[in-house]
């Protein structure tokens, strides 16, 4: 049987943050954000990472986005390894973080054209693509020229999704993209992600707190707790493994952590 080509191969990935504390910084403290995690994501698959705050989800996304270096282990993205081939990887990934980070005084148009030009897309083409994506996300065109700080959180997040998709990336890294969104905006984003996967075969790595979102979007889910990938499988497999009716109970059963309880956050 042929195994499908892998978009992400993470092997024994470790990340530690060292900080100097105390008077004159003489005390060195170590906090392990990732304690040797391994997983693969096949091309065209949507893979979810579920875990409470401080479990290492954002650190993982940042490493895959080339924003953090690896302390141990290997990461391969579409056949390219980190950190050696990070320039190629940067060109082929789109990322959406939990906070829609923009130049708040600039309009959506100006922010998106800036992002497009950074990736070498001509202004007109970037504008055409941006409008098409925003229409799909049900954002009114007239908001395109408004400063970002005048738009709601939901609208800002839709523009963040547009920015990530502007380059038509084969891999999307989504770090809690729907946290804090109203139900309508959340549904718009989720529907669009489903369509992307179906129509373009985009690979998606999604971190989330939202069990329903994970069940709806992800073919497979990994439970991340205290920097370790505790369990992995489809939602049904995980529930079966834990002997529970729902995914939240499965998470509690398999990790020993209550989902609403944040772990002590590792400051990366």
């Amino acid at each position: 049987m042929n195994t499908p080509p892998q978009a992400i191969i993470v092997n024994n990935l470790k990340k530690v943050f060292r900080k100097r504390k105390g008077f004159l910084g003489t005390v060195l403290s170590e906090e392990w954000a990732l304690k040797g995690i391994s997983f693969n994501v096949a091309e065209g698959e949507t893979y979810g990472i579920l875990g409470p705050n401080g479990s290492g989800k954002s650190t993982l996304i940042r490493i895959l986005s080339t924003l953090l270096t690896i302390d141990d282990g290997t990461v391969e993205i579409m056949g390219h390894s980190l950190p050696k081939q990070e320039r190629w990887i940067r060109r082929n990934i789109g990322r959406v973080s939990v906070d829609a980070a923009f130049y708040k005084k600039l309009s959506a148009r100006e922010n998106l054209l800036f992002a497009g030009q950074l990736y070498g897309i001509p202004k007109k083409e970037a504008e055409r693509r941006a409008i098409a994506i925003l229409e799909n996300l049900h954002l009114e065109n007239r908001k395109f020229n408004d400063p970002l700080d005048e738009l709601s959180r939901g609208m800002q997040q839709k523009i963040a999704v547009t920015r990530a998709l502007l380059i038509d990336p084969p891999l999307l890294l989504l770090d809690e993209p729907t946290t804090g969104l109203d139900p309508r905006s959340r549904r718009d984003v989720q529907e669009y992600l489903e369509r992307l996967r179906e129509e373009k075969g985009t690979t998606i790595l999604l971190t989330t707190h939202d069990m329903q979102e994970a069940e709806r979007l992800c073919a497979r889910i990994g439970f991340l707790a205290k920097g370790k990938l505790v369990a992995e499988g489809s939602a049904d497999e995980l529930k079966q493994k834990a002997g529970t009716e729902n995914l939240e109970d499965a998470f509690i059963e398999l990790t020993g952590i209550e989902f609403g309880k944040d772990e002590e956050e590792v400051k990366d």
Binding site: R62, S97, Y103, K104, L106
Partner: protein
Amino acid sequence: MLTKIFRPLWAFVFRDFHLTRRYIHWEVVNLFYAMVSSATVALIGVASKDFRLTLRLTLGVLLWNFLSSLFHEIANSISYERWEGTLEYTFMAPVSRLQHLLGVSSYASVYALLRSFVVLGGLYLFIPMTLRGANMAGVVLVIAIGGLAFMGLGLMAAVLPLMSPERGASATEIFQGVLLLVSGVYYPVEVLPSWIRPLSVISPAKYALDACRKLMGTDNPASTNGHLAGASLSSVTPLLLVLALMGIILIPAGLYVFGVAEKWAKKTGKLKRTG
């Protein structure tokens, strides 16, 4: 190929232009303040009825306006991205740091130049000045070459907010303050206490000011209130060479230091919004 190199570089010019446009009311306020503070310094010369002192101070405020604005824009480009929370997105774009910093520096140069022209226009309202006889073409050349050295210093200072999100921006202000103190912008560096005077040797602003004063004839006994005896370009060649050498050393050094700091920031997680 050229488009591939210049489009990302142009993206930073595009972004910074629109940011200036969106914050235009603050730009106007800052410009007004720069104009007024420049005039108050230059008027000290008018009050003492000394045209040489007036010219010296006027040249000082104008050159400092240009160089400090250039330095400030480049040095604070990282702090600004931290405040907005966009730093990670800029650093994960497939853009070389050379393209990134050249883009920022290109806009900063044009911005600083235009700003200095506006301040000059404002000064004309307060200070009776003649530039007849001054070697203005030479002055422009000195400013251009001196600007390169200041770009290099700006790149080095931009590293500070990268390394320390909380204290880095304050450190760049101190860096700029020390430059102002030791460069002899308004006074000869000889009046500085001996313990701090050696620092003036490494300030590009000192050489730029010395060259400009010669080219304008500020200290030339042959200069009069109505006609300046500006020096020829050849008489400031050694100063130009020092400035060019500083630019040649400081720009690559700034890029190198930035690269090292970026690696360190990626190891320690300092690129994150709040660090």
